[in-house]
């Protein structure tokens, strides 16, 4: 009786907010596919557990905080627009979730951005969890198929999750917001075709830069600029400062990971290292301070990536005319 009243109230609310999805199943299960596995839900998930920060933020962006049983594995602070909702959800573990912790949380759906979360030494394989009746979701970004851009894959995630949770309209709204941010960025007036170095981190004095497969490459394509390591077939290859200098970037985008807090993580430290390096210091981009700072986590594919893209687009529009 009570549950029926609640259900009616929830339905009413959903109607009011325009979220009553046309495909709400009257009978039968909800089905979807995620990264090669088919998922079946007897009813809309109510106890989701997320295994990494990007998946947590995706669900929060879809307004699903009240359906989450817990989060884990926070790399840095959640984006300010999600902070209030994030505080409403239990943090099961600040770091990687263990297989025991996941089962103890009694989830009815597990969502991750990376397939590597579903290994035996982490939360267990996807097959194990499906056998227990717990569907698992892996972001299309981490699913090696086709040549869709990371942005399109993110949108595919939103659409699939929207369908699973019955919040299709929120998903479409999120996608159109993101599309708008993409087209706004690509319409910026950037002169010529500047050569850009995307510097993610510096570990043991070795720079990790964007190769040709990650989201910085997609951003470069969108903005009509050249990623100087586009030819390397990896997300974040480890290169040398000499190679960087040899490719003479006009502009350097530096990822700031200062919230992670390890030595060398902040953008300032990375810039200082380049200024100290005998060869790097001679580069016009370093000498003339043509350096753009963005949040490092936004250089990995997530709902936040459009934020970094907008910053880079704006800064490049300014800088490119002085080149």
């Amino acid at each position: 009786m009570t549950s029926r009243v609640v259900a009616a109230a929830v339905c009413g609310l959903m109607l009011l907010s325009g979220c009553a999805a046309p495909s709400t199943p009257e009978s039968g299960a909800i089905t979807a596919t995620s990264c090669g596995m088919s998922l079946t839900f007897a009813e809309r998930p109510k106890r989701v557990v997320t295994l990494d920060q990007t998946s947590t933020e995706t669900l929060l962006a879809l307004g699903l905080a009240d359906r989450m049983a817990g989060t884990s594995n926070l790399k840095t602070k959640v984006a300010p627009q999600f902070a209030a909702d994030y505080r409403r959800v239990t943090v099961l573990s600040p770091k990687l979730l263990t297989a025991e912790q996941l089962r103890a949380a009694n989830p009815d759906f597990v969502v991750a951005s990376f397939a590597e979360q579903f290994t035996r030494d982490r939360v267990g394989s996807r097959e194990e969890l499906h056998e227990l009746g717990v569907p698992t979701f892996v972001s299309a970004v981490d699913c090696p198929s086709g040549d869709a851009s990371p942005f399109d894959r993110l949108h595919q995630d939103y659409r699939t999750l929207g369908q699973i949770f019955g919040v299709e309209e929120r998903a479409e709204k999120l996608i159109s917001d993101q599309q708008e941010a993409l087209s706004k960025a690509s319409s910026r007036n950037i002169a010529g075709e500047p050569k850009v170095l995307w510097l993610y981190s510096v570990f043991n004095d070795v720079p990790y830069v964007a190769g040709g497969t990650g989201i910085p490459q997609a951003m470069s394509d969108l903005l009509g600029v050249r990623n100087v390591f586009a030819d390397v077939d990896e997300h974040w290859p480890e290169v040398s400062w000499e190679q960087v200098a040899a490719r003479e970037p006009d502009v350097i985008v530096v990822g700031d990971l200062s919230e992670r807090g390890a030595p060398g993580d902040s953008a300032d430290e990375k810039i200082a290292q380049m200024r100290r390096h005998p060869v790097m210091a001679q580069l016009p981009a370093v000498r003339n301070n043509r350096i753009i700072r963005v949040s490092g986590i936004e250089l990995d594919p997530s709902v936040r990536s459009t934020h970094a893209l907008a910053q880079v687009a704006r800064a490049l529009a300014d800088i490119s005319h002085d080149l």
């Binding site: 089962r103 035996r120 974040w236």
Partner: protein, 344 residues
């Protein structure tokens, strides 16, 4: 009179020690089964096992059942078997090489396992089953290379140790090369975690494989117990009392290296157990291998079961790689034994 009292003490010891060892092992396993996430109690354990035995008990929720049956029980049992395996391998190798610093990883088997595991991760063959198989293949190829380099030799201790160390160095270099060439920070991190040793990936298949390997190795090693005692006096002395020195060395090298390969591929290179436990047991139960080997197995099992229980809960909700704990808990324990023996 004095001699009869000594005899009393001996027989007393002989009957008390096996019982104490069995009780310690069972109690450790039983206690550590309920340590960890999820508030598992003995009632839950009873119903999980009861359901498997077809008893009329109320089954638990599927996820709680899975936590206990698919994760917790195999994990504790794997800790026990791997602990036993490492301690037995350490005890045998210490006698075989006449080197107090010998441990199961001395001969490069674990370095081979790392190379195999890294190769699998870097080439993206993927899932953890793949990592285990890769590690096993790597460990066995390292040992194969060792045997190849030692062929035709008399398997003299110094030669075995030096060749083993060289093989280990070769595979360590290969591992570094692979990691550098792949150049991916995330790969490096996940492999490093694996190398430190963790029981998080324990499942029944690993338990069964390790248990069979450990039991067979223990039986073979115990068969050679008196030969190992004789080898302690040197190869010439052993040969003079009728020990086939080369054959003994070869059989035991093959047995311990295979067992180490199985253990390392299941859980990574958990340190310290194989080095320290045999020494501790020698202090408590004497140096004769007929008793040293089974007691080392029990002590190693108890030790790793507790180290892993601590690793699960001490920094909860985070888990510490158990290899860190074996050393953290093992060092003071070992110093305590040394001190009580008055040898420090």
């Amino acid at each position: 009179m004095i001699s009869s009292r000594q005899a009393d003490v001996r027989t007393g010891r002989a009957s008390v020690l096996p019982a104490a060892a069995a009780v310690a092992l069972l109690a450790s396993v039983a206690t550590s089964l309920v340590i960890g996430t999820g508030g598992i109690g003995y009632g839950d354990l009873v119903s999980v096992i009861g359901v498997r035995l077809g008893l009329p008990v109320e089954p638990l929720a599927p996820l709680t059942d899975s936590l206990i049956w698919q994760l917790r029980i195999p994990r504790v049992l794997l800790a026990a078997t791997v602990g036993a395996a490492l301690a037995v391998c350490g005890a045998v190798l210490q006698a075989l090489t006449r080197n107090a610093l010998a441990d199961p990883y001395l001969l490069g088997v674990s370095s081979g396992a790392s190379t195999g595991a890294v190769l699998v991760v870097v080439t993206g063959i993927g899932s953890t089953v793949g990592v285990t198989a890769g590690a096993l293949a790597g460990a066995l190829s390292a040992f194969g290379l060792l045997l190849l380099l030692l062929r035709g030799s008399g398997l003299d201790s110094l030669r075995v140790v030096l060749t083993g160390v060289v093989v280990g160095q070769l595979f360590t270099a290969l591992t570094s090369l692979l990691l550098m060439a792949s150049g991916d920070a995330d790969t490096t991190r996940s492999v490093t975690y694996w190398l430190l040793g963790s029981l998080a990936s324990a499942r029944w298949d690993g338990v069964i494989l390790c248990a069979i390997a450990t039991a067979s190795a223990l039986l073979v090693a115990r068969y050679y117990a008196s030969s190992l005692d004789a080898l302690g006096f040197g190869a010439d002395t052993a040969a003079s009392v009728g020990v086939d020195v080369r054959r003994t060395r070869l059989v035991l090298l093959v047995v311990t290296s295979t067992l180490t390969a199985v253990a390392v591929s299941a859980v990574g290179a958990i340190g310290f157990v194989g080095l320290i436990v045999p020494h501790g047991v020698r202090f408590l139960a004497g140096p004769l291998h007929r008793t040293l080997l089974p007691y080392s197995a029990v002590a190693g099992a108890v030790f790793l079961v507790w180290a892993d229980a601590l690793a699960r809960v001490l920094l909860a909700p985070q888990e510490v790689p158990v290899g860190v704990f074996t050393a953290l808990a093992g060092v003071p324990l070992f110093l305590l034994i040394l001190r009580r023996r008055g040898e420090l």
